[in-house]
Each structure stands twice: as C-alpha cells, then as structure tokens.
Symmetry: none
C-alpha cells in the first residue's frame, strides 16, 4: 500500500509519515500543490492525504484536476477545524473522506484504514476474462467452469493481471505488487511463476508482449 502525503507544514508531514510508516504503509511526501498534482497524476497511489492550504496551487484545485483527469485514487482531505464550507466543497470536489485539523494521529490512521478497507469491499468479487473466472471471496479460480488449484503466489499474480485485464502489465510493476519492491529477486522468479501458472491455466490464458510485459485478454465485459 503506497500513500502520498500532501502537506506543506514539515512538522505535521513528518508526524504523518512516521505514523503511517509505522503502520506498514509506504509513504511519500510533497509540499506544494503543483508537485502534488503532478505526482498524483503520474504515479499510482492507493491513497492520498491532501491538505487544502498549499503553496502554488490550493488543495481543492489539485483534487478537482485529478478528478477531471479521471484519476479515482482515494483522497482524504485535511480541513481546518470548523470550516464547514471547505468540507462541503471538498466532498463536492470528489474527496472520499475529510478530517478536521487538528487531529490525533490515531484518528488519521483509523480513517486511512477505513478508507482502504472500504474501497477493497466494492463491486462483485468475481472477475471474468475469457474462459477464466476468479472469485476473490472464495479465492477460487475456474477455467471453463473447471476449478483450478493455485498456490498463493500464483493466485496473487493472476488476480493482479485480471484486475487489470486488457492492459499490458510490466514485469517491474508485477514484481512490486507481488513482493513489495524490496526486491532481491532474480527477474527469472517471475518467469518461473508465470510458467507454473500457464501450465495450470493453459498456455494461451496469459499473453506475453515481448519487451513490455504480460496481459490477460479482456474477454467478457
């Protein structure tokens, strides 16, 4: 889980980084609105903590630009205590939750957890792609209705590809999501898992795009 913290007060930023870091999240920080907008638009975060009062471009504008660009990353907005109008505006602009300042760090952590949990519980738990079907609830995979037994790693790999079906996913991206990027893995490890997965699912289930990565066909939609 990767989180971007947008906060211009360095003391508060450091506090937040410490708290979220201790809770096991990978945290990055930026201190002004322009940089925030750029990072949020180009990088892939699971959640963004966004202060509204920022240099260069205010938080609400940043949020609106993200949403206008179709970025649906979860956003937790930090508002000044009692600034009711700001809060309403924030929600209109597409914030997923807000937290009035000042706040206790525990409270922030609770909100972050709740948001991530909530977002994970959305939609159906079944993803279909061609002959493949993946049920996240039962953690079960079938091919043409026939159950297939996968190891945990194989399952996670397939789940990630199917969550992003129709898109080519690069090896670095896969490695990061399977292992967390602390790496120390031969590139070959991924290929080995792929091989085992294909043997179970059929060779044509996952396509290789030489030089780019892997993809599961769109199939049913």
């Amino acid at each position: 889980m990767r989180i971007l913290v947008v906060e211009d007060d360095p003391r508060i930023a450091a506090d937040i980084v410490a708290t979220l870091g201790a809770a096991g999240y990978v945290v990055e920080t930026v201190g002004d609105g322009e940089e925030a907008w750029f990072r949020g638009d180009t990088e892939d975060y699971d959640l963004i903590v966004l202060d509204l009062g920022l240099p260069k471009m205010d938080g609400l504008s940043v949020l609106k630009r993200w949403r206008a660009a179709g970025r649906m990353t979860l956003v937790l907005v930090l508002t000044a205590r009692g600034a009711w109008a700001e809060r309403v505006e924030g929600i209109d602009a597409g914030a997923d939750d807000y937290l009035p300042k000042p706040f206790r760090m525990e409270e922030l952590l609770a909100r972050v957890r709740a948001l991530i949990r909530r977002s994970a519980g959305l939609g159906t738990s079944v993803i279909e792609a061609g002959p493949l079907s993946l049920d996240a609830r039962q953690m079960r995979v079938t091919r043409n209705g026939v159950p297939v037994t996968l190891s945990p790693l194989e399952y996670r790999l397939l789940a990630y590809l199917m969550h992003h079906k129709g898109r080519v996913v690069s090896p670095p991206e896969l490695l990061e999501h399977l292992y967390g990027d602390d790496d120390a893995h031969e590139a070959n490890a991924l290929e080995a898992v792929m091989a085992r997965l294909r043997k179970k699912l059929g060779q044509d289930s996952i396509a290789t795009r030489r030089g780019f990565g892997y993809a599961v066909a769109q199939g049913t939609e």
Copy 2:
C-alpha cells in the same frame, strides 16, 4: 462472534457482558462515545450493542459517523423507555434493531441472536453446509444428522466459519473473532483447535487453503 458493548453504566454493562459471554460470544466493552466510535471504526465486530446516552459523544452521533464511514456492522440500539422519537431517529441513523430500557437479559440475547442470524441471510437459527448442521439457539451441531459434541471453543470456531461459509477466512481474522485481539496466542493454538474439530467432524469438513486460510464449503443454501 465478537461483540462490542457500548454502555456507560458499569452495572448494566457487566450484566450484558455476563449474559453474552455465557452465550458464547466474545465481548468487549467501552464506556464513552469517542472511544466507541474509534473502536467501531477500526476493529471488526460482528455486532455492536449501543446505548444512546453516553459521555463525550452521544450514541446517535457515533452511529451516524460509522455509517458515514461505510461501516455496516450490525448495531442494536438501547433506548430509554417510551422515547419514541429516539427510536425513530436511531433507525434513521442506521440502527438494525432497538431495545427499550429497561429490558430483561433474555430479551437482549434473543435480539442479538436474531440479528446475527438474519445477517447470515437465514430465517432459522440453523445453518446448513454440506453434511453439517449448526443450531445456534441450542448450540448443537450434527453431521449427517448425527449429533456431535463440541467444546465451547470448537463450537465458536465452527460457528464463525459456517456463518461465513463459502468464504476463505484468514487465521488472523479467526483469531480476532475467537479471542478478541488482546492476548497473544501462538499461531499454533488455532491449528490445534482445528485438528480437534476435524477429528470430530471428519477431515474434509473444513478445507485448508494453504497461504490463505480455512473455509467451509457453501453446500446447501
């Protein structure tokens, strides 16, 4: 099954804890609204018993905040006798049931059972899964119609899995719901209970999904 009791009168709280505890639930208590909100938002309970008159933050506000945050935990609200308006407000705020004070403990227990049963999508207190049948009211389990005697812990483990049949339940989740999260147990404790349970129910009654957790097959629905 893990229940949070939010009640500021220590005598009543103790009574409720005793009653629910005797019925086999894992019970935790808090005495004020802020703590209640925090716990309900961060921890994962199967049901929350919520008194409305609380220090620091009143029950209704707590409930509204949970719902606003997307927490769908079952909530049983305790209202003052005849406070009809409160009752309506409670239901508006997202309570699943209410109980006017004062009440007899049996009545509370019945409501709690009914709510939990209902949430499992069942009309009766009996859950079926394949050859297994679990009667929550009598705390009785049969396999192919033959009664099986279970220890309290074994029963709670099976009950939780059957309430969530068809889903893979992870060891941490099971530990949390069996023990409440306070004390540290060796991971092995759970495995030991599983082994004893399987010996009584038959090896295939509960499936292990290596690396993920345990599951009871969907079976009859």
